[in-house]
Amino acid sequence: MKVPAKLLATAAVSTLISSAAMAQSVEVLHWWTAGGEAAALNVLKEDLAGQGIGWEDMPVAGGGGEAAATTLKARVAAGNPPTAAQLLGMQVREWADEGALGDLTAVATEGHWADVVPSALQDFAVRDGKWNAVPVNIHRPNWLWINAAIFEENGLTPPTTWEEFNTVAQTLKDKGITPLAHGGQPWQDATIFDDVVLGIGGADFYRKAIIEADMDALGSDTMVQVFNQMRTVRGFVDDNFSGRDWNLATAMVLNGEAAMQLMGDWAKGEIVRADMTPGTDILCVTAPGTEGSYLFNTDFFAAFDVSDDNQAAQSALAASVMSPAFQEAFNLVKGSIPARTDVAPDNFDACGQKAMADIKEAEANGTLLGSLAHGHGQTSAVQRAIFDVVTEHFNSDMSAEDAVEELQIAVESAQL
């Protein structure tokens, strides 16, 4: 009687295993835990559920995704990567270099992704001719948000160069209005730094200094000017800025406590929540001097190298993410614009429509550039080394010349 019992048990176990393998599901690690973002992800979940694919949510809270990155490392090091993980551009590249990513080329070819995804994004999603990540959105960090009422009362027009910005800001300051709402956190300081480098140096200088980390460009007089402008900007920020979260800074603009903020288009979420209209109550203009250029910051779902029986679900996930319907639905909520250029702009607000028009122009002129502050300009090591210097300079009385020297040393030692 013993043998049949054993057989039975084996049979039971094997059915269990096979049924587990039958039920396809994707496990997605992400840091979209805020209400609107989570709702946007539901679009994706339902789409996949329609195809009989389950969704194992693996949210790791923490806005910048630092905690998520740590979790991901642990999972991959343990040989148990998720089906897909939300990553920024440079992280996709770093994971691809580790050989941890899978291959989505088949789905990509079928969906003609190469024709609709801007080439600057493809530089991150494609490695050695293989698609290993799918872009979800395109954020633009180089926006200047303006409280329209304050500007109207004081007869000001939105600045288009850094010189104009300084004049406008000085006028506001003289009237006792905080010109610029800012939060003193390294990534926010770097967001301003991005805008100043691009605004003063132009697209070619940004590419040379930031993306190529060219030592001559980093040590140039233009860079000294950039740091001098950073010092001027520091003078337009209130005394209590240190450590403030970005959304609190946005709230200052919304409440009329401050006139402007340099921040990415995720600020729209705060504007809409305060029942104001982006483009009317709160103006969106490109950061001073950066008209014609487009800094971008894209969230990718990177496909990890999973076992063969999970690859079908992974491909289905990638195809769903890339579908125009999801791209539109998600980005309407997120404040960003779709990562494919063939989505109609009609449903987007004024700022989104401007972004969609600008990105086409920038793509054509080769001025679509990865943002340093948001993980598309440099590897983590160099990025953080630049953050150190920018933040140190912004928070101290370091001279621009010293800052430039520090910058060169920091970048050089981080590259080693």
Partner: protein, 296 residues
């Protein structure tokens, strides 16, 4: 038969402690000492995002000590460590001596001083962050009450921010130090004190010559506990200032986390962890050595 049973029982009795202890010994061997060894190896390797095993010798240590941020972190550790330990000891001792005056409701007061210790450093950090924030905390309240010239913006001031970490940490731990000293004070032979009083010693002389010298063991344990808390302090700094303004309150532990996990320079991060380990060892090993020697 009976003899063999009793000898088996004796053998079991000998074996039992080892059996019971062995799982935890094995766990500690792997998860503490094993990972210390692993980290030591990583500090000599070319690890960046994930551990990798190419040997690079001392170059991670050379890079580490050429980094400005590491210099800042070490300086901050020195300032924080010295002030934290010194103020905690002095304050703890004073509180203990005052509590030792046979006052009413001693148990109640002692509990109040000890309570901060029950909080996590994260809670302490967030509470003090709000309290010290000039926009919403102490300074704002004073301004509301009409004292408009009042100014206390240390937490936003890069030269003073590290002292706010000291304040919060002292608030949290001085009660614990007080308890340690109070136990020491209660252990002092009352006969000896009475004898000194009979000889006409003033209260001050009594404490300086008789009581405080006898608190040496309490001092030592307080020092060792505080020193290692200072070196590994991470959560308090993260919650209170997050290393800011700028890099003004960076400490070795926050440095280690950022290099290992966010900057993908795991080799340098591991090297900084090793330096922290050695610093703690420099405090703990002599202490353990002297303790063990005394027992023998």
């Amino acid at each position: 038969m009976a003899r063999s049973a009793s000898s088996a029982r004796a053998a079991l009795r000998n074996l039992l402690p080892r059996l019971v202890l062995s799982p935890s010994v094995a766990l500690i061997a792997i998860f503490v000492y094993g990972f210390i060894a692993f980290t030591s190896y990583l500090s000599f390797s070319d690890s960046r995002m994930l551990p990798s095993y190419g040997w690079v010798g001392l170059s991670n240590y050379e890079k580490l000590f050429s980094l400005r941020t590491w210099d800042i972190a070490l300086n901050n550790l020195a300032v924080f460590g010295i002030l934290y330990i010194a103020i905690c000891c002095v304050l703890g001792l004073m509180l203990a001596i005052l509590l030792d005056q046979r006052i009413r409701a001693e148990g109640f007061i002692r509990t109040i001083y000890l309570y901060p210790m029950a909080l996590s450093f994260i809670v302490t950090g967030v509470a003090w962050k709000w309290f010290l924030d000039p926009g919403i905390g102490l300074e704002a309240v004073m301004h509301d009450w009409g004292w408009t010239s009042f100014k206390f913006d240390w937490i936003k001031n890069r030269d003073m921010a590290i002292y706010t970490v000291v304040i919060a940490a002292v608030w949290q731990t001085s009660g614990f130090v007080m308890a340690t000293f109070l136990a020491g004070l209660r252990g002092i032979d009352a006969e000896m004190l009475r004898a000194a009083e009979v000889d006409g010693a003033s209260t001050f002389a009594l404490y300086r010559r008789i009581v405080i010298p006898q608190l040496r063991p309490a001092f030592l344990s307080a020092f060792v506990v505080l020193a290692h808390m200072a070196i590994k302090s991470y959560d308090l700094v993260v919650a209170l200032t997050n290393g800011g303004p700028g890099t003004a309150t960076e400490v070795p532990a926050t440095f280690m986390y950022s290099y290992t996990f966010t900057r993908n320079q795991m080799g340098i991060g591991a090297a900084s962890a090793e330096i922290m380990l050695l610093t703690i060892a420099a405090v703990i090993v002599p202490y353990l050595w002297s303790e063990l020697r005394e027992k023998r």
